[in-house]
Point group: C2
Chain length 199, copies 2
């Protein structure tokens, strides 16, 4: 209830845990993972440096909570994009990839945290949670003649790596963000024509 950064009237904050995570998110967006620190989050919540300890045993726990929060946001973002893509599974797959890339463009620091080596949240990576399903889909499309032959696992991994690579290149500064989305669509088209069965 009490506004962040304002002097608190009550002894108890009321929603310190949430406030800390929110403040940590601000710090992350502003300066990356290394800029996330407990004291500043506490300061912005108008609370003493020891207070966060009641909610998070250490900095890693705060980062974990932040990661979880961001994971949920990303999942919602991704699933929304899939829902908008209609019923065609291949269109859905493409939409998921583009959502991935768009999220990386819009929230690079969050993307970075979410996919860091240290992130162990199994649900954090929406793109990688339907592997078996996606591979089966690819195998079926191959049998039905829509996709050219080849090991479906490799085709799937290629699609993942391509998407992840584009997103990562943007986040890591190897691809200018301006126009990156349009470029990404071209790249996905090249790949799509590559894996499609020759007519």
């Amino acid at each position: 209830m009490p506004a962040r950064r304002a002097k608190r009237k009550t002894y108890h904050h009321g929603a310190l845990r949430e406030a800390l995570v929110t403040n940590a998110l601000e710090l992350l967006d502003a300066g990356g993972r290394e800029a996330v620190n407990v004291r500043e989050a506490a300061r912005r919540a108008g609370v003493s440096p020891g207070a966060p300890f009641r909610h998070f045993p250490d900095r890693a726990a705060l980062l974990a909570a932040l990661t979880s929060e961001i994971g949920a946001e990303f999942r919602a973002f991704s699933e929304d994009a899939i829902a908008r893509a209609g019923a065609n599974p291949l269109r859905q797959f493409r939409a998921m990839g583009l959502a991935y890339i768009r999220y990386a463009i819009e929230h690079p620091r969050r993307f970075q945290l979410l996919h860091a080596e240290t992130c162990t949240d199994p649900h954090a990576l929406a793109l990688f949670t339907r592997d078996a399903e996606a591979v089966a889909l690819i195998a079926r499309a191959q049998r039905e003649g829509f996709l050219r032959a080849g090991p479906p696992e490799a085709v799937h991994l290629a699609a993942q790596a391509l998407t992840y690579g584009l997103a990562r290149m943007i986040v890591d500064g190897h691809l200018p963000r301006a126009g990156a989305e349009a470029l990404a669509e071209q790249v996905l088209d090249v790949f799509g024509r590559g894996v499609a069965a020759p007519r």
Copy 2:
């Protein structure tokens, strides 16, 4: 000359700068970028905490020197792989991609540092230093009928993104390192068949 971690006989270390970078590399490999700290590097060199200041104005400078060192190593690694690939440009390109991935498997922390958003070393990224040349090569292969038609810039970016994505997936823990190289070869094959002109 004096061994690291041993008590120094002389007042002057002799090669403190190099020793600090070496120690920083150890810290990086052991615990990632965040584990690199000036004091520990100084401690391991058997030198006081203030000594590094003579060589590096701050921690960022030490990290920059470390990055530069790693960049040179990676470049040599990559160029060696290309040299071994023979004269065929397409084979060279494939060899470069595989070298990229192999380096990521062998030295994930170094790869990570080298490709971090904060890395500004323009020569650090061997894969991305011959863009115009590679695009021209692709365009020529298309004209000569080896590759199917399509915007050569997009084909080139697709190849880059695929390679970078695989390497990054390994580094970020999204792909088990065991067997990753063989898997990567399969993926590059799928891509290669995709961009190759239909026979």
